[in-house]
Amino acid sequence: MGVYDFTVKTNRGVEKSLADYRGKVLLIVNTASKCGFTPQFEGLQKLYTEYKDKGLEILGFPCNQFAGQEPGTNEEVQTFCKLNYGVTFQIFEKGDVRGENAQPLFKYLVAQKKFAGFDESSPMTPILMDALQKNFPEYLEVDDIKWNFTKFLIDKNGEVIARFEPMITPESIAKDIEALL
């Protein structure tokens, strides 16, 4: 069983085999809901713009399992939502990424790359830990995805190379992507 054995549906309902991405470097990300403060979309789009011609594909999987609980948003006064977040990489159908009903692809990804802790040096870590302890303490106990914007980096042969937790920004993993292109 490998990444290329999974079939997923795009946000327009079209079935897509991940085998179509063979030979590409993939960044698979569980993205946030359509609203709220989601600056990582911008960072992901920048990565995509910079590296797509060199063989990077970003696959976004919207999930609302963390909806309404986004940390660090209090100071953001935003009263609108955005269709597809303004990104041009492929967005897939909304679905669960953790728990019993998680999409098989995500069950596979977290089995390949288990949770190895958060980056303690990030200012977002205490905020996220606080939000998790208050709202979803059980999320901390297993290897499942902890929050929006967990990123899995997959090489050209379909091997899951790395898992980056939510506080690791898209900008900071550019070098990891470059190493695989």
Binding site: K34, F80, C81
Partner: protein, 77 residues
């Protein structure tokens, strides 16, 4: 007629619609996720794909759930 450009699962769109209803304003919902023509119209009006966009004449519009601006827009009704 006021038009509200929106998408599904958009709490701000829902708030805007409820607010208009509470003010007794009739409006037409245009879902830009389901209808590409509406998506194009919305992008022409606001220059983006953010919602809700509330407009009557397609020129003056309110982006987002901004009560004061909505009041100004519907003031003439």
């Amino acid at each position: 007629m006021i038009k509200v450009y929106s998408i599904t699962q958009c709490p701000w769109c829902d708030k805007a619609k409820k607010y208009l209803t509470s003010k007794g304003v009739e409006f037409e919902v245009r879902n830009i996720e389901e209808n590409e023509d509406y998506a194009k119209e919305c992008a022409q009006i606001s220059g983006d794909t953010m919602v809700p966009v509330i407009t009557e004449d397609g020129k003056n519009f309110v982006l987002g759930f901004d009560k004061a601006k909505i009041d100004a827009l519907i003031g003439g009704n």
